[in-house]
């Protein structure tokens, strides 16, 4: 057993933010991915897209200045940066589906080694299904990145050879930013991009139960 430190939520968000380039059009999914906005390197101009019809979304609205006509996909009051724009839902999802966004960062229940994504439904028989924009986001951006802990609470790998949860999209995830490692999903399976300090390649493969090609 090697001695390693997992990436915390903010550290993980910082790791994702490192790979976002100047001028990128980016959609950050609801939940953990929204943290990425707090860690974008200074001096970078990144245009954030919100599926409900906003480009150039700014930070959360200050207390007392909330405008409930200006909200993000998570329905929280936000702000608009100078240069930002509003548009209707069909245009917003056209932007997505049409491949105009550079990067989309999503959470996931499971990702397969070849990039299949499951993040909308646990498939539990009593669960009420809700999909929102998950399926459009998964397949729309030039690059779809997943941000998640690599193991579930029981220590089982959330990266699998085949998803057991209902699929959101097929072969759509390019990269997984995890608490233990960053990985690329390829038609041949996983490829290592980086590991947290102290974790060795063989130990990662053991934890995931999957082969990981060297980077």
């Amino acid at each position: 057993m090697s001695n390693y430190q997992k990436r915390g939520k903010d550290e993980l968000a910082r790791r994702v933010a490192q790979d976002i380039f100047d001028g990128a059009y980016v959609n950050l999914g609801i939940g953990m991915p929204t943290l990425v906005a707090n860690h974008l390197p200074a001096g970078l101009e990144v245009v954030l897209h919100s599926e409900n019809g906003v480009l150039g979304m700014g930070p959360a609205a200050a207390e007392g200045e909330e405008d409930y006509d200006l909200i993000n996909a998570g329905k929280q009051p936000v702000t608009l940066l100078p240069g930002g724009a509003y548009f209707h839902h069909a245009d917003s999802f056209g932007m997505m589906r049409g491949g105009h966004l550079d990067i989309c960062v999503l959470g996931a229940f499971q990702v397969s080694a070849t990039g299949d994504l499951a993040n909308w439904h646990t498939g539990a028989p009593d669960a009420i299904p809700a999909v929102g924009g998950a399926m459009d986001l998964a397949i729309g951006a030039k690059q779809t990145w997943v941000m998640m802990d690599l193991l579930d609470k029981q220590g089982r790998s959330k990266i699998v050879s085949e998803c057991s949860y209902p699929l959101t999209g097929i072969a759509c995830v390019k990269r997984i930013y995890g608490d233990l490692a960053t990985l690329a999903c390829t038609p041949q399976g996983l490829r290592l991009i980086d590991l947290v300090e102290g974790l060795v390649h063989a130990e990662l493969e053991r934890l995931l139960g999957l082969p990981v090609a060297a980077g």
């Binding site: 209707h88 009420i128 809700a130 399926m135």
Partner: protein, 233 residues
């Protein structure tokens, strides 16, 4: 002379028939035509199919409409929310039919209806439960799913300003589904906070041209979440 301004919500909603498909705009707190939904509850049409992104929150608005038992089917992308108890109860009790649609497909199916498109292929949802039983085809090397338009009998939307020809301007992210729903229904009813004189709305900035609007009703700007303003205007 064209005058699409209705004196009241009740006048604007007269004639919504039993069995109608009703498109209802709004996303989160923005762009919900609350006054028109309340008016529809008053009006009393039954056996409705409702199209909205969600399936109602709390006990008011769409949730209150569902609670009357007059909605037999809902077409939406995200019914399950922390406060969607009214829908949850009806769904679990088998009292409402749900057609779950990815959000972008919902928007595009409405757009297709308004634009006279017979059907379209989209990559969204391919290989998932939501595409089960649907026709597929590989186009440009990419597998795609055949989706059909959603036509409304009536659309209820909320805009910011309008004129007697029915031209509409929206406010911020409250635009959301309004412009596409306005095109997708045989009759579109919009609420506005301000009525402008003809020519007063900048023609370069009109988002929904009046051809898509049947009636508009002026409503008060209420300091509620649904109204878009919490504090002073």
């Amino acid at each position: 002379m064209i005058n699409k301004i209705a004196a009241s919500v009740a006048e604007a909603l007269a004639g919504v028939a039993d069995g109608a498909t009703v498109l209802i705009g709004g996303f989160g707190t923005a762009g919900i035509p609350t006054e028109l939904i309340d008016g529809l509850i008053e009006q009393g049409a039954r056996d409705l199919t409702v199209v909205n992104n969600n399936a109602g929150n709390g006990e008011t608005g769409l949730a209150a409409l569902l609670k009357t038992g007059r909605v037999s089917k809902i077409i939406c992308s995200f019914p399950r929310q922390a406060d969607s108890q009214v829908f949850d109860g009806l769904y679990r009790g088998g009292k409402i039919e749900l057609e779950l649609v990815p959000q972008g497909n919902l928007a595009e199916r409405l757009r297709a209806a308004g634009a006279g498109i017979g059907a379209f292929y989209t990559p969204t949802g391919f290989g998932t439960e939501l595409a089960k039983g649907k026709e597929t085809r590989v186009l440009n090397g990419r597998p795609q799913v055949l989706e059909y338009p959603i036509h409304g009998d009536v659309a209820l939307i909320k805009a910011e300003r309008g004129d007697r020809w029915g031209n509409l301007v929206y406010r911020k992210a409250a635009r959301n589904f309004g412009p596409v729903m306005a095109t997708a229904a045989r009759r579109t009813i919009a609420t506005v906070h301000e009525i402008a004189e003809l020519g007063e709305l900048d023609p370069e900035a009109i988002i929904t041209p009046g051809i898509h609007v049947s009636k508009l009703v002026k409503i008060e700007r209420i300091a509620t979440q649904a109204g878009g303003f919490k504090g002073a205007v």
